[in-house]
């Protein structure tokens, strides 16, 4: 098998860079843990359910930012690439509000 390995010598790892990757994972794990604490340990009498939902959405966006920005490396790409990915997402937000509004309108008709 020895002759199978080629002469390519790998560049030694940069410890600081690898620590940065693990740090992102720790942030993601910590945010998920916070979501759990809010869901299970804090009763709705202290934190009303709608407030909880807004906190979940905010924390989810934080996680999405780290996954897309750091893991998928989008934060370090050209501005034109960043915007061509992010701008179309506006339509998703737009659709979300329309359909949730529609859902409550159907509810009002039914109940």
């Amino acid at each position: 098998m020895e002759q199978e390995t080629s002469q390519v010598t790998p560049i030694p790892a940069d410890k600081a860079k690898i620590w940065k990757i693990w740090k992102v994972m720790l942030i993601l794990a910590a945010v998920t843990a916070v979501e759990f604490i809010i869901a299970l340990a804090i009763p709705t009498s202290i934190l009303a359910q709608p407030v909880k939902v807004y906190i979940y959405i905010a924390l989810t966006i934080v996680k999405a930012f780290y996954i897309v920005g750091e893991f998928m490396h989008l934060s370090h790409e050209r501005k034109s690439l960043i915007w061509s990915i992010l701008l179309p997402v506006i339509f998703i937000v737009f659709m979300l509000f329309i359909f949730l509004y529609q859902g409550s309108a159907i509810y009002d008709q039914l109940f």
């Binding site: 990757i21 693990w22 979940y56 998928m72 050209r78």
Partner: protein, 261 residues
């Protein structure tokens, strides 16, 4: 034979031959990004559909201590996803979201090992790429196994007494029999749409994980036999990595909107 390295000259100087890269990303990476954008629209459509149907049904507005499954309102996810393998055997009858939480951590972990594989690829470190791709594969397969259990438990259903001390009633059918568990037309947890959306959303995501595992395996294989090294770069690891992170990203949203809210 492996010593005959092929130098690929992809420095195309001709603008119309693909030489100019205004976004400083290769064609393959850009197309992966735009594919993922379209995939994001598909998943958003599914999750927004969940939102619409969720809003169209009444929510449970009583005390949590009185919660029982009913066809009249949307179930609380805490009371549907509250088991893990062996939890009934050791006498734990209410472990809300524990298993889904473990699945979330598994997927985050396998995302990190993927980043480390990409990083090793930049350094042309074949051994490290192999190692981290193997960890990523392991994470993906573990996640799929967890989901298989989750599905079979959901389909099988629960009988006996619920955590609040009420008897599970199931769905009473016209012929007098009682139905427990779930299928595409009815389920004991709540309105029929609840199980249909569960199967559709987690199923669609699970299929993405499955195809991600297949792609990861192909890249792992190409690394071990030295194809990527002879090519002179590990960009394929990066492209498949983008897909894999996207699958993780979708799970973050599914976790919030299906299991937490």
């Amino acid at each position: 034979m492996a010593s005959t390295a092929v130098v690929v000259d992809d420095k195309n100087t001709n603008t119309w031959g693909g030489g100019a890269e205004p976004m400083k990303a290769s064609y393959g990476k850009l197309m992966m990004w735009f594919f993922l954008l379209s995939d994001a629209f598909t998943f958003s459509a599914l999750l927004i559909t969940y939102g619409l149907i969720r809003f169209k049904f009444p929510a449970f507005d009583g005390d949590i201590g009185d919660f029982v499954y009913s066809q009249d309102y949307w179930p609380l996810p805490d009371f549907v996803f509250n088991a893990f393998p062996g939890s009934h055997a050791i006498g734990v009858d209410h472990a809300p979201l524990v298993f889904v939480g473990i699945m979330t951590f598994i997927l985050i972990f396998s995302s990190v090992t993927m980043v480390l594989a990409v990083e090793a690829g930049h350094r042309m470190d074949r051994k490290a790429v192999e190692k981290w791709m193997l960890w990523t594969l392991l994470g993906g397969i573990t996640f799929l196994s967890c989901q298989a259990w989750e599905w079979s438990h959901f389909i099988e259903g629960v009988q006996g007494v619920n955590p609040n001390g009420f008897q599970y009633t199931g769905v009473k059918l016209f012929d007098g029999s009682v139905f427990f568990g779930a299928n595409l037309s009815m389920n004991q947890y709540g309105p029929p749409n609840f199980a249909a959306l569960f199967f559709f959303i987690t199923g669609f995501h699970g299929f993405h994980v499955f195809s991600g595992v297949v792609l990861n395996f192909i890249i792992f294989y190409q690394t071990t036999v030295g194809i990527l090294e002879r090519r002179g770069h590990y960009e394929m690891v990066e492209k498949v990595g983008l897909y894999w992170h996207f699958v993780d990203l979708v799970w973050v949203f599914v976790f919030t909107f299906f299991y937490l809210v």
